[in-house]
């Protein structure tokens, strides 16, 4: 179980493979469910040139570790990985990776979605978008 905050661009699938290669569950996992959130070049009808992702250092990690532990309690999974970007980013940059490994698929699907929903609803990250003429804080919608 690992939570990582990255302040520079990262390759989510490479992170996943690196973690998987060093984890203790080789041969035991039949299912990997991975979700990657990526920065879009538009939002709410406007072109977005760049984005600043602020977070609450310390609380972010604590919260993500808490939901990872919860997922491991709720479902029979082998392991999970969360990587989240912070700082200045550009369209097409990966923002977040959530990956879950389990013996069978239902648990990986359920747990990865749970982690993403909990992350979106409560993890202390905030997005500020830079448009052509202004910057704006993204307002919560989901």
């Amino acid at each position: 179980m690992l939570v990582e905050i990255k302040d520079a661009p990262f390759e989510p699938y490479q992170c996943l493979l690196d973690y998987q290669a060093n984890a203790g569950f080789a041969g035991k996992y039949g299912a990997t469910a991975a979700f990657v959130g990526t920065m879009r070049e538009f939002n709410q009808g406007d072109d977005v040139e760049a984005m600043l992702l602020e977070h609450y250092p310390g609380m972010t990690e604590k919260y993500l570790e808490k939901i990872s532990a919860e997922a491991a309690t709720k479902w029979n999974i082998l392991d999970s990985l969360i990587v989240h970007r912070i700082g200045e980013m550009l369209p097409n940059d990966p923002i977040v990776l959530v990956a879950v490994w389990s013996a069978h698929r239902a648990e990986a699907f359920d747990a990865s979605r749970y982690l993403m929903e909990e992350l979106k609803s409560r993890a202390p990250f905030w997005k500020k978008e830079r448009l052509a003429e202004q910057t704006r804080w993204v307002e919560k919608k989901t």
């Binding site: 959130g37 992702l53 602020e54 977070h55 609450y56 310390g58 609380m59 604590k62 919260y63 989240h84 923002i95 977040v96 993403m116 992350l119 979106k120 609803s121 409560r122 993890a123 202390p124 990250f125 905030w126 997005k127 500020k128 804080w137 993204v138 307002e139 919560k140």
Partner: protein, 81 residues
């Protein structure tokens, strides 16, 4: 104990800009709740609706009691992921 008799207050994102400060320290004396910390740190600004609050990096509500040495944070709804 004098150096510990304060509460550290943090503001994030749009709320940080709204209150015009990133971090503050307030004396612990006489405060009982997170709402009291907000009032003292912001000079009695109104607490915006939907503000989220944490004490020592755990979510709480505004009635949560605080003590010297605590870190209290105020921030808007989160938008990560």
């Amino acid at each position: 104990m004098t150096t510990k008799a304060v509460i550290t207050v943090k503001f994030f994102a749009s709320l940080r800009e709204h209150v015009g400060q990133t971090e503050a320290e307030v004396a612990e004396s006489g405060m009982k709740s997170v709402a009291d910390v907000w009032s003292q740190a912001t000079n009695n600004m109104a607490l915006p609706e939907n503000t989220l609050m944490a004490v020592n990096m755990e979510y709480v509500d505004s009635s949560c009691t605080v003590k010297a040495g605590d870190e209290v944070a105020f921030f808007p709804p989160v938008t990560g992921g």
